[in-house]
Subunit: 498 residues, 2 copies
């Protein structure tokens, strides 16, 4: 792809904040602008507090017109913009820029329309994920993607990160459940991406926007698909004598044409970490526990459970239990859903990783992670969205011990690079953000990163939207040692640095 | 979005073909290059023969390296490129450019890998849609999207158009069934978009590429998802006293949480057109016939059929038949699948339209199309992918009668603009191509077309890939009278004209 040097020669510098504020104050009331460390401190990090930065200011617009005004002013005065949802992200995607503004969309938190006949809801980006399902419950409907943070996280953040959850194996991620997004570009223009129709003419930019981590624009309205609540759901909980066999059961279930509503694996350390906390009756002697949920009509569920149990037995499950009531189903899930708080009970700090691998390598990857525990001198417990090959290793460390933060980061990076070697990727649902930017150099070729940069520039020629995240510059990749500089040329242009 | 005038000042002109050929002949053997009208005539149109043009030359590369060489030469010499699959497209997307080259990917027709354990196949773009399912059948797997042309159409063309089919209501369109595409850009660079993992880090450009109608690059390898063949399938065929009631049945089925494997509606004229041809035992007295397929385990199918029949009766179905055998199931479908050839028996020519509308407007839209029949003095028979609101009105005309071609085109345009007014879109699965470029002006705002142009330029700064299609220039929209020129400015830059 041709370099477009004109738009990349600008290298920023400190913006003229006084002129910027004069402009923005014309359209944005004072109570929607936070300045000074005491006001902006709460915004210095998101759910990955390893990375912190105080922004110059924080905007809390109350309507779309104010979003437009803020972005136009940022464009005119070359002020970097970091969009923010609920701040629950786990890859530092909402970490502020030291010379820039945070734009929080938390106040755009109204459910604008809920149409049970069309099975859609149109909501502001600040609406919480769970609030959509709560509002839809009256019609027997719900919004399927359910990240662990769903009580707190907002749909705008879900769109930015393409959030998943336990049920995304069957019901898809955010990208499969959002029909349309209304976007404000850095120029303050309104663009509607996607459509309620099955196929939208023109370029399919909705999916490029979903998961773009705030690099292309800010969502001000999101239309989601609602689906009918399943009439029943039951969980099979199975113990296996090895992680490899549990992984084999996962492969066999999928290969048999079953798409469970959830298919989650926990290793021995994770089980032993959560059981004393949740008392879910987990088998403490198992090397791995597999949770497999079926949902649908009672007949469908009964039929699927029989097939799942038979497959698990064939592979070598040593203990099998099927939830007999809704209460028991929730109890079985309680351990999996509380893995993160449980980690907090046994370790001062933990670092949640997020990589994907082909399902068949589950066993081999766990073996290598065990070797790394010895190499880095740190424990790691493992929970997986096994059905879609999405790992969440939890590295346990103590930030107060010198060198442990750096060692935890190095351990995490080693896991991600292992995922790439196994044919997987460096993020399943948490995004790249600032956390995994080095691993992007290993994940993609120069040409692929260049394609990302070109599309980024098409939306944001001055590189103001969430700068220095997601797409690494060539210099960073060269420094990280993962990319060759082709014949001494600078093959793709850097994004601006402020 | 800022205009990037530098890349749009080039306005083409006739390329220097001699120098171009010198370059390209270094890498592409003579038998892969067609020149002269006698050789290139077969490429003058695709499945929409209303639009024809003879290209300067046709390339039939035999491997990816030759595709790279052709595109680099086209880029160096500013030769427009029209990519072509099997030529079955219905919107003129593969219509040649008079000063350009057609690049047919028909020879890249090998199935490179088929992995039953991972449920994936990696295939060349020239592999026929049905050939994938035939190869996968040995493992009990198939490739779900099934456009009517699936015997002939190629997966590369399916990717370009985001092809659908009867089963896409339940199993998704091409975009939901393709995991990864290997793309050659106009600069001859190789980029892999997408991943076999559930979420790919970085920008989600796979979905933007799928359905981009040859504007962003040429696919040389496509990785598709295979799914297990359902163990059984049955069809309910129901007669309704009005199209409105059949539409109501569609809405009720979907609202009840049932996603049929297929849900197709035919109006009285379509039924009366196909029955003498296929003898499918269709009810000639019905105003509308609805075909609803259930697939899955025999138990799932039986349970779903009971629910579907009950809902149809409640709404007012006058005759209900359930296929009792696989033979009968195929007979019920035969009428729907042969609607196009049947049209050929009663009319010298027909023009197949492709729009989408919200399902609830099915009745109203058919009423308006009936009014248009009188207004344009032409007959139209209607078949629908009713479940996803995708209409295929067939306008019947005689090209040998003066003025009928133009009248059929005007009738078609009126139907598309009706779809937009009803909250739908101008294409469900056939693409925009050259056919619907004027309606794009009505479908999208200036800012939205501008976003498409910006992304197009990011991949193809000189506008060489399938020029003058899909994204209308401002001048065209102004001429078509559908877009206001904002304060006399030219708000988005034209793509080059050759």
């Amino acid at each position: 792809m041709d370099a477009l040097p004109a738009v990349n020669e600008h290298r920023g510098g400190t913006p003229d904040l006084a002129a910027f504020m004069d402009q923005v104050r014309r359209d944005v009331p004072a109570h929607c602008i936070l300045t000074g460390a005491d006001q902006t401190r709460a915004y210095e990090c998101d759910g990955l507090p390893l990375y912190r930065e105080l922004p110059r200011l924080v905007f809390l617009p109350e309507n779309e017109a104010q979003v437009v005004a803020v972005l136009k002013a940022c464009r005119d005065h070359r002020v970097p913009v970091v969009p923010r949802g609920a701040g629950t992200g786990l890859s530092g995607g909402a970490m502020p820029h030291a010379e820039g503004a945070v734009v929080s969309l938390a106040k755009l938190n109204r459910i604008l329309r809920l149409d049970p006949r069309r099975c859609t809801a149109v909501v502001g980006p600040g609406v919480r994920n769970l609030a959509i399902s709560e509002a839809a419950a009256a019609y027997g409907l719900y919004y399927a993607p359910d990240p662990s943070s769903q009580i707190a996280c907002s749909i705008g953040g879900n769109v930015a990160e393409n959030a998943g959850g336990v049920h995304c194996l069957k019901y898809g991620q955010t990208v499969h459940n959002v029909l349309r997004v209304r976007v404000v570009t850095i120029d303050g223009e309104i663009v509607e991406l996607g459509s309620e129709a099955p196929d939208a003419p023109g370029l399919n930019l909705l999916q490029a926007f979903i998961g773009s981590e705030g690099m292309l624009g800010l969502a001000t309205e999101v239309t989601v698909r609602l689906i009918p609540r399943p009439r029943s759901a039951r969980v099979v909980m199975a113990s296996f004598p090895s992680v490899e066999l549990a992984g084999e059961a996962v492969t066999r279930i999928i290969a048999d044409g079953i798409i469970p509503a959830g298919l989650e694996l926990m290793d021995r350390r994770a089980v032993n970490m959560v059981e004393p906390f949740v008392h879910a009756d987990y088998d403490l002697d198992a090397e791995a526990i597999l949770l497999c949920e079926s949902d649908g009509t009672p007949e469908e569920v009964a039929e699927e459970i029989v097939r799942v149990e038979a497959l698990m037995r064939e592979v070598g499950a040593t203990r099998l239990q099927v939830s007999a009531s809704e209460e028991e189903r929730l109890k079985f899930w309680a351990g999996r859903k509380n893995a993160f708080p449980a980690a907090g009970r046994i370790s001062p700090d933990f670092y949640c990783m997020d990589g994907t691998i082909p399902r068949r390598h589950l066993g081999a990857v766990l073996g290598e992670i065990a070797d790394m525990e010895r190499q880095f001198g740190m424990r790691c417990s493992n929970v997986f969205h096994a059905g879609d090959g999405n790992l969440h290793p939890l590295i346990l460390y103590d930030a107060n011990r010198p060198g442990e933060v750096e060692r935890a980061e190095a351990f995490g990076a080693a896991i991600l690079e292992l995922c790439i070697r196994m044919g997987g990727t460096i993020t399943g649902e948490h995004g790249v953000g600032i956390e995994k930017i080095n691993q992007m150099c290993a994940q993609f070729t120069r040409e692929e990163l260049d394609a990302f940069s070109a599309v980024k520039r098409a939306f944001d020629p001055h590189g103001l939207l969430n700068p220095l995240k997601v797409i690494p510059t060539l210099a960073r990749c060269a420094e990280h040692g993962k990319m060759h500089v082709h014949r001494g040329e600078m093959p793709f242009p850097d994004l601006p640095r402020f």
